[in-house]
């Protein structure tokens, strides 16, 4: 346990093991292999938490060799599509999880940071998606320009929504966001220029130069299905959003948000402009959602209002709560949990939604702060 080399190799070994385990769960097809890998996953997770010495060891390892751990996991994430080159479905699921990760990261700070339960994710997601789709269709703009534009338009919407809501108390604010989601959904269905219930079709795949995202890639001599293009795109976006979120958290803004969460009046007395920070949380959350919407639209090629209902809002809120409020890594974990597991448990088909509700209740009972609660700030 002493030499640096043995520490690093142990770290890499543990990471590889965890990765392989998760990977086997992801690609398991037959019922018994799904169940076995799932049980092993849960068991190992549980053991690691419980056995204090193991937990300490892993924690110190990761802290001392942060960079190497990160690089190694990045390598894994990068070669993942190669390993999955015969399973385009799994790559698609990871992409789908990635989109939700973007939604969850945005929401993570709004709920965990400022304690505003925002049910308007469906609306902001829709705004980003429809902006991208409409502009692509009518103006023929390229995806790369539309990405920030969608984010901006959603962000502006968040700003507009946030403005009048500043005097509204927390509870009522949730209701406002809820009503807002419904209104956006109903308007999307009824307006002709948004395509009505049929939505918007024929959204082209993004292009880099002449390479279209619809074609498969050739990497190191392997042919990887086209879903991997979107996977890499979302991976990239998630990493950036992750870094930005962490930067927010460790900055004055994150502190201000947490102060507002803990006691709004005290925060105001401290000189924190509560209104400004609340609106900021709305705008940033919506911005991330807008970007997610654009990516989603360009992958689906065809969007309709049915994808942007209140259910999305509830799902993302559940993910953040289960994963951990105010904890960026936790939020992503919650996303993975609630995207991949329902997919694998298609065998429970009819009971999926019921189980979903139960899991949320269960999480609230046993770990209301989420699986990975917000770590105590370290002031160094």
């Amino acid at each position: 346990m002493n030499s640096k080399l043995s520490q690093i190799s142990l770290l890499l070994f543990i990471e590889t093991f965890a990765f392989l385990l998760a990977f086997s769960f992801l690609v398991a097809e037959r019922t018994y292999s799904i169940l076995i890998t799932f049980v092993i996953l849960v068991l190992s997770g549980y053991l690691v938490r419980r056995i204090h010495s193991v937990r300490q060891m892993i924690r110190t390892l990761f802290q001392q060799h942060k960079k190497i751990a990160l690089v190694w996991s990045l390598i894994f994430l990068f070669i993942l599509p190669i390993l999955l080159k015969n399973n385009p479905y799994q790559i698609y699921i990871l992409f789908y999880a990635g989109v939700f990760a973007l939604l969850a990261l945005g929401l993570n700070w709004q709920i965990g940071g400022t304690n505003i339960v925002n049910f308007a994710t469906g609306a902001s997601f829709a705004t980003g998606a429809y902006t991208a789709a409409l502009l692509a269709k009518h103006l023929g703009l390229s995806f790369w320009i539309l990405l920030p534009i969608s984010g901006l338009s959603a962000g502006i919407l968040g700003f507009i929504l946030g403005l009048p809501c500043m005097k509204v108390e927390r509870y009522y604010l949730s209701l406002v966001t809820l009503a807002f989601t419904f209104i956006v959904y109903l308007l999307l269905i009824n307006f002709d220029w948004t395509g009505g219930p049929d939505g918007i079709a024929d959204i082209p795949f993004p292009k880099i130069g002449r390479f279209s995202f619809g074609s498969s890639i050739h990497l190191f001599g392997f042919e990887i299905p086209f879903q991997a293009n979107f996977y890499y795109l979302t991976l990239f976006l998630v990493i950036i959003t992750f870094i930005v979120s962490e930067r927010f958290h460790h900055s004055k803004i994150g502190l201000a948000w947490n102060a507002i969460r803990d006691d709004e009046i005290a925060a105001e007395c401290q000189g924190i402009d509560v209104t400004y920070y609340k609106i900021l949380s709305f705008a940033t959350n919506f911005f991330f959602d807008g970007i997610a919407g654009a990516v989603f639209a360009f992958n689906m090629s065809h969007i309709s209002p049915e994808s942007f209902t209140f259910n999305i809002s509830v799902t993302v809120v559940a993910m953040v709560i289960v994963g951990g409020l105010g904890n960026t890594g936790g939020a992503i974990f919650g996303v993975l949990l609630m995207t991949i597991i329902p997919e694998k448990f298609q065998i429970f088909q009819d009971y999926r939604v019921l189980l979903f509700g139960f899991v949320i209740l269960l999480m609230l009972f046993i770990r209301p702060k989420g699986l990975f609660p917000q770590p105590i700030r370290k002031y160094e």
């Binding site: 709920i111 304690n115 339960v117 009048p164 809501c165 005097k167 509204v168 108390e169 927390r170 509870y171 009522y172 604010l173 949730s174 209701l175 406002v176 809820l178 009503a179 807002f180 419904f182 209104i183 109903l186 308007l187 269905i189 009824n190 009046i265 509830v314 809120v317 559940a318 709560i321 009819d350 009971y351 939604v353 019921l354 979903f356 509700g357 139960f358 949320i360 209740l361 609230l364 009972f365 209301p368």
Partner: protein, 307 residues
């Protein structure tokens, strides 16, 4: 003229549905400061229990021994009782454990509870995904004045609803338990210092609220003839909106809010050409408007945040 009267009647029936649910919301919020997101689903369960009891009565052949009026009255009373108990059960299991947790947790917990209730009904009630016909438990006669028709069954359930709300008013304002409820809504700690067992009082509050939701469920079944497992979600959201618009915590507010929302909705679909698809939008816009400009509602007291 006839048309106007008809529209007012329609608006009234819709409003009473909202009022019955809104009163529950206002009770719960007033008493223990929580928003019970799945209250609408409790109403839905009320409708289903009504159907189940009626089917059971039919199968058991009890009609041979007792006149239909007694049987049906028993069904109504039993339904309300069962819904009340069920509602209180939900409170004990899902809401009480989070009593001292942040409001956020209770909110999400009740949302999840709503999901569980809906799926339970959908999966375990025979043909649960389909709409279910509500039995004719009230006489099918009607008052007819020319082209105006008022069905007796609508008036009966409306009457029951009004009676129960009035009874609830009297209960809250003139009995000791009602006094306890009012005390808790003012200051729960002081109330417990005064020797009020707030645990039991809260349970009673939920009992009352759920019974009223049960009436709403039967009203839905009688007035719309058909119930489905997912009608609770929208009903709950609209009921909550009505309570907020009127003023959360204030019973008159719940009534006013329900009337406002019901009338606005009906009139938008009736008098504005091409307006019907937008009637929900209209309702929600009213809610947002009130929340932003007058969050205490129509008759709520303006609360100042105490430092």
């Amino acid at each position: 003229m006839i048309y106007l009267i008809e529209q007012i009647y329609i608006a009234l029936m819709l409003s009473s549905n909202y009022i019955l649910i809104a009163v529950g919301f206002t009770l719960f919020f007033g008493a223990i400061n929580i928003v019970h997101f799945s209250h609408g689903d409790v109403a839905m369960i009320g409708s289903f229990i009504g159907i189940i009891l009626y089917t059971l009565a039919d199968l058991s052949g009890i009609h041979r021994y007792l006149p239909p009026m007694i049987v049906n009255s028993c069904i109504v009373v039993l339904t309300l009782g069962l819904v009340g108990i069920l509602g209180t059960f939900f409170e004990r299991t899902v809401i009480k454990p989070f009593r001292f947790s942040p409001m956020l947790i209770t909110l999400v917990a009740t949302v999840a509870l709503g999901i569980v209730i809906r799926e339970f009904v959908r999966l375990f009630y025979p043909q649960g995904s389909n709409p279910q016909l509500f039995p004719k438990i009230f006489p099918q006669t009607a008052f007819q004045f020319g082209k105006l028709i008022f069905l007796h069954e609508h008036l009966i359930i409306l009457g029951i609803g009004i009676l129960l709300i009035a009874a609830m008013f009297l209960f809250i304002n003139h009995t000791r338990i009602g006094l306890a409820i009012r005390a808790i809504s003012q200051d729960i700690e002081a109330a417990s210092l005064m020797g009020i067992n707030f645990d039991i009082v809260i349970a009673i509050t939920f009992l009352i609220g759920s019974i009223l939701a049960g009436v709403a469920g039967i009203l839905t079944g009688v007035y719309f003839n058909v119930v489905k497992f997912d009608i609770g979600l929208m009903a709950g959201i609209k009921g909550f909106s009505a309570a907020v618009v009127g003023g959360l915590g204030n019973f008159y507010g719940a009534i006013l809010g329900g009337l406002l929302l019901g009338f606005a909705e009906s009139f938008v679909s009736a008098f504005i050409p091409g307006g019907s698809p937008y009637k929900d939008v209209c309702a929600f816009t009213i809610v947002i408007f009130f929340l932003i400009f007058r969050p205490s509602g129509i008759v709520g007291e303006i609360k100042y945040k105490k430092v």
